[in-house]
């Protein structure tokens, strides 16, 4: 029984670390945030951070993994209700909005971040690309979309979304750029792929 409690505590501490890291990465930048900053934010000893995450990069990856997990849940729920491309785009944006400040920082800093962080982010993109393309193919079978190669389909969508996220201070007055412009981007993209 005690072992279960300890395990639960471990999971809870890990969750607190990931939440604090996500907030500080978003506020101060990923490269600029230290593990000491994160420990201080949740009043934890610095050394204890490394019990859960051996390196700072592991913490960055844990936040990206959390984003990926939320995305997987949203896609799965979306697919149960609606197999359309529009639903996949909206599901993607819904999760992006939840992680918007962190994710925007991640996109800005990605080329400068350590290789394993970048490879994790790009693998997450691969899973979105797979969902988008599968949804497009279903639309094509119904005669509602034209043929588009998988990489260009994904790169067009992500390029559009990332432009708004990277320049979010220009497109939204301090709020969520996804909340403000997300639906317009979905409508625009649906027009682009229409047959």
């Amino acid at each position: 029984m005690q072992a279960v409690t300890r395990q639960e505590q471990k999971i809870a501490t890990r969750g607190r670390l990931v939440n604090a890291a996500m907030t500080l990465f978003a506020r101060n930048g990923i490269a600029e945030t230290t593990t000491a900053d994160i420990a201080k934010a949740i009043r934890m000893s610095h050394g204890n951070v490394f019990v859960h995450f051996p390196t700072r990069d592991d913490l960055v990856i844990a936040v990206i993994d959390e984003f990926g997990r939320r995305l997987a849940v949203e896609f799965r729920q979306g697919l149960e209700d609606d197999l359309g491309l529009r639903a996949v785009l909206r599901a993607h944006l819904k999760v992006l909005a939840e992680f918007e400040p962190f994710y925007s920082r991640l996109v800005i800093e990605a080329p400068m971040l350590p290789p394993k962080v970048r490879s994790t982010l790009l693998m997450l993109h691969a899973s979105v690309s797979y969902r988008l393309f599968a949804a497009l193919e279903r639309e094509r079978k119904l005669g509602r979309a034209r043929k588009i190669e998988r990489p260009l389909l994904f790169n067009t969508w992500i390029g559009l979304v990332h432009h708004y996220l990277v320049n979010r201070d220009m497109f939204a007055n301090g709020g969520s750029v996804i909340a403000e412009h997300g639906e317009t981007l979905v409508q625009h993209f649906m027009t682009l792929v229409k047959s």
Partner: protein
């Protein structure tokens, strides 16, 4: 944040449904993509190629860059740590 997330010890793919796991068995440490029909982990080079192809096909990344990304992705995975040391 409370939900437990199990990921493949070879490639890091999140495993949620039984079919994500080797042999459809949720006690297996690796995913269905990184294992053969008997649930045995594929050789490193094969797993590397599968992941590199995923990068290439999903985003049009060049084969060379895709291979680098795959190598970076696998470097810290439990199954391949020794391979990289």
């Amino acid at each position: 944040m409370a939900e437990k997330c199990i990921s493949c010890g070879s490639c890091g793919m999140p495993m949620e449904k039984p079919e994500d796991f080797a042999l459809g068995d949720v006690t297996q440490p690796y995913c269905s993509y990184c294992t053969d029909a008997r649930g045995k982990l594929l050789p490193y080079e094969q797993v590397l190629d599968i992941n590199a192809r995923t990068y290439e096909q999903s985003q049009g990344i060049t084969p060379e860059a895709a291979k680098r990304l795959a190598r970076d992705l696998l470097a810290d995975m439990p199954a391949w740590r020794e391979h990289h040391q």
